[in-house]
Symmetry: D3
Subunit: 157 residues, 6 copies
C-alpha cells in the first residue's frame, strides 16, 4: 500500500529518516515552460543576441535556488549538491521558453526537489524580468523527467 512518507503513522509531518542509507551517486532532471506573447519572446531574443541578459539572470537564479531547496520545502533534507546545470530553449512557434535542469549529488537521498526548484526559480525570474512588458505569462508543465540512483531505482517519464 502506497503511503506518504513525509507523514508519520499519526498523520503528522516529519522529515524522513535517511541516516541508515548509504551515500550513492544520484541525478535528477526536471523541465518546465514559460508561455508568453510573441513580442515578449522577441524582446528576450533581441537582448540575447546583442548584449542580453534575461536567460543569464534566470540561469543563475535557478542554480542558486537549487541550493536553497531545503529552506523552501519544509520536509526536504539539507543536501550538498555536486552540480547544477540549466538549459533554455526558445520555441518561437509555441511562444514559450523551455527550461531544463540537471542536478547531481553523492548523498543519502535524491535531488528531484532540487531539480524542480531550479526550474521553478528560473521560470519565476523570467517572469520577473519580463513582467513590465507582459503580465499575462504562464508558467506550466513543471515535471520530473528522470531520476537515477538510490534504492527506488530509475524513474523516467
Amino acid at each position: 500500500m502506497t503511503k506518504l512518507t513525509h507523514l508519520d503513522k499519526y498523520g503528522k509531518a516529519q522529515m524522513v529518516d535517511v541516516s541508515g542509507k548509504p551515500a550513492t551517486k544520484r541525478e535528477a532532471v526536471a523541465k518546465g515552460s514559460v508561455f508568453m506573447k510573441k513580442d515578449t519572446i522577441r524582446l528576450i531574443q533581441d537582448n540575447k543576441i546583442s548584449k542580453g541578459d534575461v536567460l543569464g539572470v534566470a540561469r543563475i537564479a535557478g542554480i542558486m535556488a537549487a541550493k536553497k531547496t531545503s529552506e523552501l520545502i519544509p520536509m526536504c533534507h539539507p543536501l550538498n549538491i555536486s552540480s547544477v546545470n540549466i538549459d533554455f530553449e526558445i520555441d518561437t512557434k509555441k511562444n514559450r521558453i523551455d527550461i531544463e535542469s540537471r542536478v547531481k549529488i553523492t548523498g543519502q537521498t535524491g535531488v528531484e526537489m532540487e531539480a524542480l526548484t531550479a526550474v521553478t526559480a528560473a521560470a519565476l525570474t523570467i517572469y520577473d524580468m519580463c513582467k513590465s512588458a507582459d503580465k499575462g505569462m504562464i508558467i506550466s508543465d513543471i515535471m520530473l523527467i528522470e531520476k537515477k540512483g538510490g534504492k527506488s531505482g530509475t524513474f523516467r517519464r
Copy 2:
C-alpha cells in the same frame, strides 16, 4: 515602446530604482495547479479528513516563501509584506489541487512576484509531500490573476 525595466539601456541587469515612488497599498493574487493521479488526491483527502497535513504544510511553505522572494528572484526588491493568504481547492474531477495566494503591502512596489512565489512553493511542497506515491505530478498554470495599486493601475486576467 515596451521595454524590460530590469535591463538598463546597455542590456545589463539592474534592480529598478523605486526610491522616488510613494508608498501605497498594493495587492496581488496568483494561481496555480498541481495535477496528480486520482489515488494521490485520495491520499491527501484521507489524511486531511482524519488528521491531515499535506495542504497544511504546503500553506506554511507558501507563506514563508513569499517572505523569501527577494532572495530567490535576483532583481526583486526586499519588501515587508503586510499579509499573505493561501487557499487550496481539491478538484476531484480533474484530479488536481488548485492553489490561490493573495499578498498585500503598503510599499513602493508591487507584490506580484511574492504572490507567484507563494503559489510555486506551495505547489513544490505538495509534490514533495506526495512524491513517494506519485512522481508523475505536474505543476501548471501558474499565473497572475489580479494586481491592484501603484502607478501602473489594476491588472485583471
Copy 3:
C-alpha cells in the same frame, strides 16, 4: 471573545493583514535565563575577565537572530527593526545567567517576537559555547516583560 488572529475563521494559518495600520514607534523587552553548574558560571567569568568571549558571542547571536525572526516564526511579518540591545547578568548565587533584550521599531506591527527570539538565540549560544563542560544546562523563564506602542497599548508583566 478572544481569538487566535493567526488562524482565519476556518482555522487555517494566515499572516495577519497589517496593511491598513499606521507606522508607529514600538518597543518590546523580553527576558530569559540559563541555569548551569557553579563551575560553568566560573568558566564563563574567568574567560570574561581575562580575555573572554562567551557572552560577547551570545550577544551577537541574539542581535543577528532578532533580524531573522520572520524566517523562523512562520506567521511573523518581515520587519526592519530599528535597534536591538542585549544585556547579561551573572547571578552567582542562583548559578544562572539572566538575559534581557530590548528591540525597537517604527512600523506597522510590534516586535515582541523579535525580543523573544533574541533572548532565545543568546541562550542557545551560551549553551553551545559551554556544552563541552556542562550538558545539563537548562534554558528557562523566557517571557515578555514589556511591550509599548501600537493599538493594543502597553503590556507590562
Copy 4:
C-alpha cells in the same frame, strides 16, 4: 581539566576542528515547555479538534529551524541532518504544552544544538500563534534529554 572548546587558548571564539573525526550515526533528544492560561490551552485544543493548526505550524517551524541551526548559533558546524521529529503533549492539569524533538545524523559532530533549536522555535511559534489571546506565556525547561553516538559517548539526563 574542563575547558570551553569553542574558545581557543587565547580565549578567542573558534569553530572547533572536526575534520579528523569519522562520520558516525548520532542522535539527540531535547525537551521544553510552554506555560499558558487554561483558556489558551483550550483555544489550542478547540482549533485542533475541529480544524486546528497551532501545533501543526509549530511542528513545521521546529523542523525548519533545526535546518537553520548553524545560521543562528555562531560556532555551530553546518550539518546535513538526516531526520527531525517533533512531538507535542498537552498537559491540561499543569496548563502547559510539552515539546520533544529528536534529530538524527550520520556525521562528524553531534546534533544536540539542532534538537534544542527545534524545540525553541516550536515554542516561540506557539507563543506567536497564541499571543493575541495571552501575552503572559512562559517558555521554560528547555534541556537536552539524550545524546548518542560520537566519541564522548551517551548522555542521558
Copy 5:
C-alpha cells in the same frame, strides 16, 4: 570626541537606535578592483565578446549580496533598498577589473555597507569564476566613494 556608535558606553556591541530618525532619500557609491594576470583578463574578455558570462554572474552576485548585507554584518539594520547598480571596467593596462556599485534607499539609515558589500561579493565572484586559471588574483582598494542623504550630510572621497 569621536566614538564608535556600534559600541555602547560599556563597550558592548549594539545595533544603533534609528527609530527616531526620519526616512529620507539616501545613496552610496563604492568601488573596488580585482588584479589578475594578463591572460586571465583575456579569458574574461574572450568569453564576454562571444557569449560571455563572468561579469554577468558577478553583477548578479553583487546585487543579491547587497540585499543580504544585514545578514552578514552583525550590527547592520535590515533595509529595503530601492535600487542597486553595478558596473565593471576592464583595465587591460593595469590588468585589473574595476567594480563600482551604486545603492539607493528611502530610509532611516544609510546604505554605504550595502554598496561595499555589493562590490565585495562581485569581486569574490570574479575570483571564483576565474580561480581555475589564476589563483593569485588580489582584491583591493574597496572603498566608499560617495554617500548622500541623512543627517551627517554628504561624504565624497
Copy 6:
C-alpha cells in the same frame, strides 16, 4: 589550455560537477587588510584593552560568513566546513589591521572561497563598526595564501 571551469563549452555559467571526486581533507588560508586613520586604530585598541569588541564582532562575522559562502557566490558548492579560525594583527606603524582566516573541510572540493569570504566579511564588519569615526577606510590585499588537499595539489603564494 587554461579554461574557466564555471563556464561550460558554450560560455554558460554552471556549477562544476564534483560528484565523482573523493572526499579528502582540504585546507585554505586567506589574508586581507583594512587601512585606517591612526586615530581609528587607537579607538579599536582602546576598546579592546578595556572592554573591547570591534575585532570580537568581526571575528564572529567572518566565521558566520564562511558558512554562507555558497549563498553569496553563485557557482560555489554548498559545503559542510569542519573548522574556521580568524586572527587579527594590529599594525600600528602602517595603520592597518591584518586579517587571516584558515578553513578546513573533509569534502569533494576546496575551501578557498570560504577562506576569502571569511576575511572579507570580517573586513566589512571592521568598516561598519568604525565608520562613524572614519569613512575613508580601505579594504585591500585580499588574497589566497595557501591551499592544500585535492587533486590540484598545494598552492602557496
